[in-house]
Symmetry: C3
Subunit: 173 residues, 3 copies
Amino acid sequence: MAHTILVTGGARSGKSRHAEARACAFPGERFYIATARAEDEEMHARIARHISDRGEGWTTVEEPFDLAGALDRTDGRGPRLLDCLTLWLSNLMLDGRDWEPETVTLVAALARQRSPVILVSNEVGMGIVPENALARAFRDAQGWLNQRVALMADEVEFVVSGLPMRVKSAPPA
Amino acid sequence: MAHTILVTGGARSGKSRHAEARACAFPGERFYIATARAEDEEMHARIARHISDRGEGWTTVEEPFDLAGALDRTDGRGPRLLDCLTLWLSNLMLDGRDWEPETVTLVAALARQRSPVILVSNEVGMGIVPENALARAFRDAQGWLNQRVALMADEVEFVVSGLPMRVKSAPPA
Amino acid sequence: MAHTILVTGGARSGKSRHAEARACAFPGERFYIATARAEDEEMHARIARHISDRGEGWTTVEEPFDLAGALDRTDGRGPRLLDCLTLWLSNLMLDGRDWEPETVTLVAALARQRSPVILVSNEVGMGIVPENALARAFRDAQGWLNQRVALMADEVEFVVSGLPMRVKSAPPA
């Protein structure tokens, strides 16, 4: 049975690094499911730094949209680090897709996995209400998405200053 | 003696739903003290969704300003869910009122309640400093308000991805 | 051997007040290392309020840039409250300095202190991605800085609504 871990936190909080450490504790081949698309200089630099930080021993799967498919294709071999739900949501919204059924599809896929999945997401709702309507819609969608994934996850960790705080515990072994 | 619970968190973090669950655990008639005013389409849709999420069994009291009065009028009958302090503060500031004495009045009213009160508020100070001076003033006022209510509350919970983290515990029974 | 405490949280979350209480629990002369510069009315009012809140019994050291020097000069006499890393980072970036080597210098200085240091910092990465490129760069830098200081600190506390949540514990005595 799969073990699902949600690692959430602010920008540059050390979420990805912590999620990688969690993934590395599981046996088997390690997959990095990347939702980022290198469309500008800044994003290109971020991706390069993430790859360099992560080191050797990962098989990278680039998938901006079909996370359920990427999970199903890599299942049964080892842990999958999915980084991150925030860029995935951004990809969906910028592409004009409806994020709600996509979220249902993702959660259903998570529920049928046999190998572990570690998902990285962002907290984006703790600032002042954005003036921009699209930003408000994104903030709402991100909040709902995090709640739905957290509800089905076995563990949820909130990362502050690089350190994990426990939000939801694994059930007793 | 009243039991006061502050439930705080980011936008779309699941604060209201969690606060409702806390309120439903107390016996008696349940009151929903709503600070929202349906002045535009977006807010109207939010209010409709909140009412639908909450379900049957609530008496709604709409009160954008006088929370102390709304609490006193409903005391002695059952739990009151006050949702939320952020919209109340926004109402006060947009109406040109001084939020500081209003906060003193609210905290004094909370201290004299006999029935439980569950208050919902937002964390708004964990983003970049807003460029807009009014937004900075709002962020400061929200921070002070949360501190004052948290100081007198019996319990404070911080909701992340729909799940509560304990900030302040109830005193031992 | 020094005891290093990082107190982080949102704007107006009560970080400074909590950090002062932590500092006051240590014996010896108390130093307040202030990174703020009173360059406009709003900042002037904030500094005045901080000084008034803090009360008597503090020696104030104003140091917008050279925190390592300020720590070394005040070492061996009592606790130092450094408030705050966010303004220090802002000072560095507005002055066109490279914050990364400055951070290395600060962390090295922290490691050699004999008297306690309590550092205040801000969480700024839990809102929507800022549209402004400088704000994004600042948010990234603040995140990295917090991670580096948290890694070497003995204790890290995250303040919500004036109340501390424990992120990293002191090692057992």
